[in-house]
């Protein structure tokens, strides 16, 4: 029972995270690509309740002024924070044009919860938009892997003989290469400088296709054992075609493997995308992803001075811990059933 509650809580939290990222335009106060050179490496905006005139119920903030050694708050003018503030226009869910943001502050103040990067772009907004890319990469690449693995595993397990030998031999080959070297190696042979959309597609296909071997072996095992079950043999004796047998009796059994595999693969693929983008082999500027946002930290001075730029690392940790916990819980749940 405790396990069940924990799993529900995890699922709900994960769904909330995905929803927040799906509606990134609404929750992000600014356009992720909008530069603001006056606020290069501005620290996170502080939210105040107490000002020169005493305590306020509504939170407010101050504008930022550049000082000779950093940034200072311009305390002459208190700027209230607003819910459902009007701001930069964006398209919600790639369809609706909108201007209302969940929260924001009037000009001249900018509400930068996680500070700003080198170009003065709002780190919080970039985090949300970057999360869209990173999570989508993880999810789609996982789907690709599982689709390829299911096809190969089923064919291998069902038809057996030399097809099986050949396919499982190549699976072993793919497992013999250290995964990440292989990933970088394959990426090396694909064009580097293409549009962000094409890069994204290339990346998820490469990540997705390379990982097929291990799930395919699992699925093969299941198909192999399912094929010899009495009811399958009976169905075949009644004249069921291969396609019918696979669809009706064999593939449903593989779901028990596919779902835990998915929860294991998603965080790994999110990390893979982040790592490739971190190296400059993945999603490139100006489109944000958690990986390429972290890549500015390769400069030691940035790493030391601007700790708020570590925010994408935090986001990566949170999502991947949640996915791994879910995978764990699913594992125990399936074991006990």
């Amino acid at each position: 029972m405790r396990n069940k509650t924990a799993m529900c809580v995890l699922m709900i939290a994960l769904v909330l995270v995905h929803l927040a990222l799906l509606f990134a335009g609404f929750f992000a106060p600014y356009d992720p690509a909008a530069q603001n050179r006056d606020l290069s490496y501005a620290p996170p905006t502080r939210i105040h309740f107490v000002g020169s005139t005493g305590f306020h119920w509504g939170p407010f903030t101050y504008g930022m002024v550049k000082d000779f050694d950093g940034y200072r708050e311009d305390q002459s003018q208190q700027i209230p924070l607003r819910l459902f503030a009007k701001g930069d226009s964006y398209t919600l869910l790639w369809v609706f044009h909108c201007k209302t943001h969940f929260f924001g502050a009037d000009r001249p103040a900018r509400l930068q919860l996680f500070g700003a990067d080198a170009y003065g772009r709002d780190e919080f907004s970039r985090l949300l938009y970057g999360g869209q890319i990173s999570l989508a990469a993880g999810l789609v690449a996982t789907l690709i892997t599982l689709a390829v693995a299911t096809i190969i595993g089923t064919v291998s397990g069902y038809y057996g003989k030399w097809i099986d030998e050949m396919l499982m031999g190549s699976a072993e080959l793919f497992l013999a290469l250290p995964w990440f070297y292989f990933l970088v190696g394959v990426r090396a042979f694909l064009p580097l400088h293409v549009s962000p959309k094409e890069t994204f597609l290339l990346l998820i296909i490469v990540i997705g296709v390379i990982g097929w071997a291990r799930p395919a072996r699992l699925i093969r095992g299941i198909v192999l054992s399912a094929r010899t079950r009495n009811y399958v043999v009976a169905a075949r004796a009644f004249g069921g075609s291969d396609f019918y047998l696979l669809r009706r009796h064999i593939l449903p059994e593989t779901f028990a493997v596919l779902i835990p595999q998915a929860t294991l693969l998603i965080p790994q693929y999110i990390a893979a995308e982040a790592t490739l983008s971190f190296f400059g082999l993945g999603i490139s500027e100006p489109v944000p992803s958690w990986g390429n946002m972290l890549s500015t930290l390769q400069q030691y001075n940035v790493l030391v001075s601007y700790s708020w730029l570590l925010a994408p690392a935090g986001a990566l940790v949170i999502t991947s811990v949640m996915y791994w916990r879910l995978a764990d819980r699913l594992h125990y749940w399936l074991q006990s059933h």
């Binding site: 031999g169 190549s170 072993e172 080959l173 497992l175 013999a176 290469l177 250290p178 995964w179 990440f180 070297y181 292989f182 990933l183 970088v184 190696g185 394959v186 990426r187 090396a188 042979f189 694909l190 064009p191 580097l192 965080p267 999110i270 990390a271 982040a274 790592t275 971190f278 190296f279 400059g280 082999l281 990986g291 972290l294 930290l297 390769q298 030691y300 790493l303 030391v304 700790s307 570590l310 690392a313 990566l316 940790v317 991947s320 811990v321 996915y323 791994w324 916990r325 764990d328």
Partner: protein, 325 residues
């Protein structure tokens, strides 16, 4: 012996397959090293054609594969166009550094993780087990890249260890002790990142394997005979539990090599990682496949080592041979 020979043959077949796979990728790749030259009006198409002929890029594919395999066998690993030299010497110095890093990390990981796993399994559902379990699942779930960046931030900010490269300037002038100390301080950061990534996986595997053995009926029987807890664990459970743990070695090595690529780049360790990355960015494909190939060789060698260990530890495999002969 037959088990060993079979494994050796399999390893060789794998190497052949991996080399074919790697080479196939070079052939499928769009673009080549000379693409940028083509844009340069000062270099005539004839020059490029001569260069291509010089590097043998205009020969048919099977012949190029044969040439590449020959140079692999000689230890040259193909030809690096950017540095105008065989890839081999370039690769060996880097591979040595990667090997130093990964071998140290492997030894330390297993030295730490195996006792932890055994301890955790033998004190199940007690405080120690819960604590070890929680921290290893945390270690597994935090992405390597985050660990690397976070530890780097800590190390740089508080100047705990030496960051960047493998040795300090003026390394050659140091005494032997000074050299060891300098190398150690440089290694501390990459090794700790690799440890944080690896310990969780191994610990969990060891715990699962040992606790499965502890639950078997014959262990219960042994316990009811009054055999002490320690003797039960070390004499009866561990030798049986060793097999699945040794089998993990191959997968562990794959993960470790991948992680070390990342760690080397982030901490500036002059291993295969930065080399493959630079080569990727400058499209020097022979270096890329050579490095990938070398990593595969390291891994296949590691798997072979695991097989040897299996023979040493598992009498079932040894006896299986005896029966076969």
């Amino acid at each position: 012996m037959r088990f060993l020979l079979r494994r050796l043959l399999r390893a060789l077949l794998m190497l052949l397959g991996v080399s074919l796979l790697c080479f196939a990728f070079t052939q499928m790749a769009p673009g080549s090293f000379f693409d940028e030259m083509r844009l340069n009006p000062q270099i005539s198409p004839e020059t490029i054609a001569t260069l291509r002929a010089h590097y043998g890029l205009n020969r048919p594919v099977p012949i190029r594969y044969a040439h590449w395999m020959l140079s692999l066998a000689k230890g040259d690993f193909g030809y690096c166009i950017a540095y105008n030299s065989p890839v081999g010497p370039l690769l060996w110095t880097r591979a040595k550094n990667t090997l130093l890093l990964t071998a140290t990390a492997t030894i330390l990981t297993w030295l730490i993780a195996v006792p932890l796993g055994v301890w955790s399994a033998s004190s199940r559902r007690r405080l120690a087990d819960r604590f070890i379990g929680a921290s290893s699942s945390l270690m597994i779930s935090v992405p390597e890249i985050v660990v690397a960046v976070a530890l780097l931030a800590v190390a740089v900010r508080w100047r705990l260890v030496l960051v960047g490269g493998m040795v300090s300037l003026g390394f050659d002038d140091l005494s032997l002790w000074g050299k060891v100390r300098d190398l150690f301080l440089h290694m501390l950061l990459p090794i700790s990142i690799l440890l944080l990534g690896g310990i969780g996986v191994v610990e969990r595997h060891v715990r699962a394997s040992v606790s499965e053995i502890l639950d078997t009926p014959y262990m219960n029987a042994a316990r009811s005979l009054g055999i002490g807890r320690m003797r039960l664990l070390f004499r009866h459970a561990l030798p049986v539990a060793a097999n699945p743990v040794i089998s993990l070695f191959g997968f562990f090595l794959a993960g470790l090599l991948g992680a070390s690529l990342l760690v080397e780049v982030v901490t500036g360790w002059p291993g295969l990682g930065p080399l493959i990355l630079e080569a990727t960015l400058s499209r020097d494909l022979y270096v890329v496949i050579a490095a990938t190939m070398l990593s595969a060789i390291l891994m296949i060698a590691g798997n072979f080592l695991a097989d040897l260990l299996l023979i040493a530890s598992d009498p079932r495999i040894r006896d299986g041979e005896a029966h076969a002969q």
